[in-house]
């Protein structure tokens, strides 16, 4: 169950990236997430084809590629929504290949969705209160028995405060008591993100988090992402906004037709002919 990077993966890392040394408050392991030879097909269609990459701890890594490249499917394979036919996924030293979504999340790897999965007929606050881990009250008996409920109430108050704080940061606190289904698309994505943060994860996988978000708020969120990175969080972000990727990610992975086409620093990726071709729709 060790997470030694396979030699191939090491070789794939192109030029030396600027690793932020300060982020390493945690263990020695370099790669918090390791994906090896992942393979996933649906009927006759191969969605993910021998994909391998690593995500460095404490980094902000981008995952890009044209539509249909297999990014979301890869996310799904990593987080247990799909089960890969082949390959392995290692997170923070533990082999999580084929684990169920909740098990992956409880290990500290949390993701948001490309199309936000807000819980429609629950309010924004309920959505937020749902997220944190280790809630005593999620055991039926603790919520019901008179003696035990006290502790649950206490915890609820704490979670409430945290929820409001986060909502205020994301500037959607005015929507706190709205049903999530009444939110606009951009607001839902913010909720998705805010909610994911409530789980206090080690690593966040964000699937197009800025879609529909206004530029000022986007800047604010990115600042926050950087601040969190300082605290030791790791981010893997799928985005189509190239400026965002280039400016904020220290390492970029490019997927195409189910596999990893290239990876490296944003500059290196930008100048790679094949990457450009892939985006323009050419065969590689």
């Amino acid at each position: 169950m060790s997470s030694a990077d396979s030699p191939d993966v090491e070789a794939q890392r192109g030029d030396a990236e600027s690793v932020d040394e300060d982020a390493s408050v945690r263990s020695v392991d370099d790669a918090v997430l390791n994906v090896s030879n992942l393979h996933k097909h649906f009927g006759g269609i191969v969605a993910v084809d021998d994909t391998s990459f690593s995500v460095e701890r404490g980094s902000i890594t981008g995952l890009i590629g044209p539509n249909g490249a297999g990014k979301s499917t890869t996310f799904n394979c990593i987080t247990g929504v799909y089960e890969p036919e082949e390959g392995s996924v290692t997170f923070d030293g533990t082999d999580i290949t084929g684990w169920e979504p909740h098990q992956v999340a409880n290990q500290g790897l949390v993701r948001t969705f490309q199309i936000a999965r807000e819980l429609p007929e629950m309010t924004v606050l309920e959505n937020m209160m749902l997220a944190p881990k280790d809630q005593l009250g999620e055991h039926l008996w603790r919520s019901v028995l008179p003696g035990a409920r006290g502790a649950v109430v206490e915890q609820e108050r704490e979670l409430r405060e945290q929820a409001w704080e986060t909502l205020e940061f994301f500037e959607i606190d005015h929507l706190a008591e709205e049903y999530a289904m009444n939110l606009s698309g951009g607001q839902r994505k913010l909720l998705d993100l805010a909610r994911a943060l409530q789980t206090d994860p080690e690593m966040l996988m964000l699937d197009e988090p800025m879609a529909g978000v206004n530029p000022t708020l986007e800047e604010k969120i990115l600042d926050r992402i950087h601040a969190l990175r300082e605290d030791g969080y790791t981010f893997l972000i799928v985005e189509h906004d190239m400026d965002l990727i280039m400016e904020h990610c220290e390492h970029v992975i490019v997927m195409h037709q189910g596999g990893v086409l290239d990876e490296g620093t944003p500059e290196a990726i930008q100048s790679n002919e094949q990457v450009i071709e892939a985006y323009l729709g050419g065969e590689v």
Binding site: N76, V81, Y82, E83, E100
Partner: protein, 380 residues
């Protein structure tokens, strides 16, 4: 059952796991092993049962003729279940909901058809009221006096059958206009519940009109060899209709549209297949078959009641599910399996438990192989 099939449906999640703790442990069951284990168990059971049949033949507990009898009954039941299952399967795939009122369409056909048959065949023997309400009250004329059996009054019975289909079609189309059409965009669960309402309203409307008395309808007919005349009629007519359906599905444009729509409604919309037309055709074929099925059931059993279709509904669901929802040919296969299961199990089970075996089979399929026995096969 794979995880993927549920993504994006907003409904229950996927997976093949049995429980949390089981999967957290390293030596957890692999995804498909639940289905595999049960499949293995069922196969083993089949082998044991076949061996037991042989044993019973040898010891004389059972005769070869009675085995044949059970098989024949299995085929007969499969026939009328198939007629009904076809409609249910089409509704499920093209209209996307489990139609709990389908059983009552069967009953509608039964009453409507026999009212016509009585009017035609019984004219003069009893009052119009008695005839059209198919002997709603006791003390009137007896079935024997009306004398409707296939040899004595073939014309009346034939007319009755046609009317059975027609009446059911009209009722189904009316209901679609009044109820289901207004719900086209609502989810399957809402429509399921609405169909329960339709079932109750329809069944008890029949009860108000025809009363809820269970009564005899047909006269007895002489046997044809080892078979009863009515059984034979049922099987032959059902078979003919099924062959006709097959030809429709394979040879006509409508049939192709229906197969396309069953597969993927949105795709059908985009490619320009007229869907409201197909929906209407679905109701027409499904309801006609259901109504005729009800009519033929009464012909064979000899009696009718308002609960006729309702009591059969779960068995029909079982047939549809076994064959894979949305697959018409699957529904036919499923009907065969159900018909056989119910009847062959009589070798071991008492008759009042025969249905239980079919239901258990259905539940196992739903849990372990929800795509049906022919799971995943692309059919109509």
């Amino acid at each position: 059952m794979s995880r993927e099939s549920q993504i994006g449906m907003g409904e229950n999640l996927s997976g093949g796991r049995i429980s949390d703790s089981a999967s957290a442990v390293r030596d957890r069951l692999s995804p498909t092993s639940g289905a595999d284990i049960v499949g293995l168990f069922v196969a083993l059971l089949m082998v044991l049962l076949v061996l037991d049949i042989v044993r019973q033949l040898v010891t004389g507990e059972i005769t070869f003729t009675s085995i044949l009898e059970y098989l024949w009954w299995g085929l007969r039941d499969a026939m009328y279940i198939a007629l009904a299952a076809v409609g249910l399967s089409m509704t499920y795939s093209i209209l996307r909901f489990a139609n709990f009122s389908h059983g009552d369409l069967i009953t509608t056909g039964a009453f409507g058809g026999w009212a016509a048959a009585y009017l035609v065949g019984g004219w003069g023997i009893a009052s119009v009221g008695e005839l059209v309400l198919v002997r709603a009250t006791s003390g009137g004329v007896s079935p024997g006096e009306v004398g409707l059996q296939v040899f004595a009054s073939p014309v009346a019975i034939l007319i009755g059958m046609v009317v059975a289909g027609a009446v059911t079609v009209l009722v189904a189309l009316a209901i679609d206009q009044l109820v289901y059409k207004r719900m086209r965009d609502q989810g399957g669960i809402s429509m399921l519940i609405a169909s329960v309402g339709v079932a109750l309203a329809l069944r008890y409307s029949l009860a108000v009109i025809f009363t809820n008395r269970k009564r005899g309808v047909t006269a007895s007919a002489p046997d044809v060899g080892p078979f009863t005349a009515h059984e034979l009629t049922l099987v032959l007519i059902a078979f003919a209709l099924i062959v006709g359906l097959h030809l429709l599905l394979q040879r006509t444009k409508l049939g192709k549209s229906m197969r396309a729509m069953a597969d993927n409604k949105d795709l059908a919309l985009i490619t320009g297949i007229p869907t409201e037309r197909v929906i209407t055709a679905t109701w027409i074929i499904g309801a006609a078959f259901a109504g005729i099925s009800g009519y033929l059931i009464v012909l064979d059993r000899g009696s009718v009641s308002i609960n006729l279709g309702w009591f059969l509904l779960l068995l029909i669901f079982a047939a549809v599910i076994l064959g894979g929802i949305g697959s018409i040919y699957g529904a036919l296969v499923g009907s065969l399996v159900i018909g056989m299961t119910v009847n062959v199990s009589l070798i071991w089970l008492p008759s009042d438990l025969a249905n239980v075996s079919a239901f258990i089979l259905m539940i196992l399929i739903l849990v372990f192989k929800p795509n049906g026995l022919l799971g995943g096969v692309e059919t109509a």
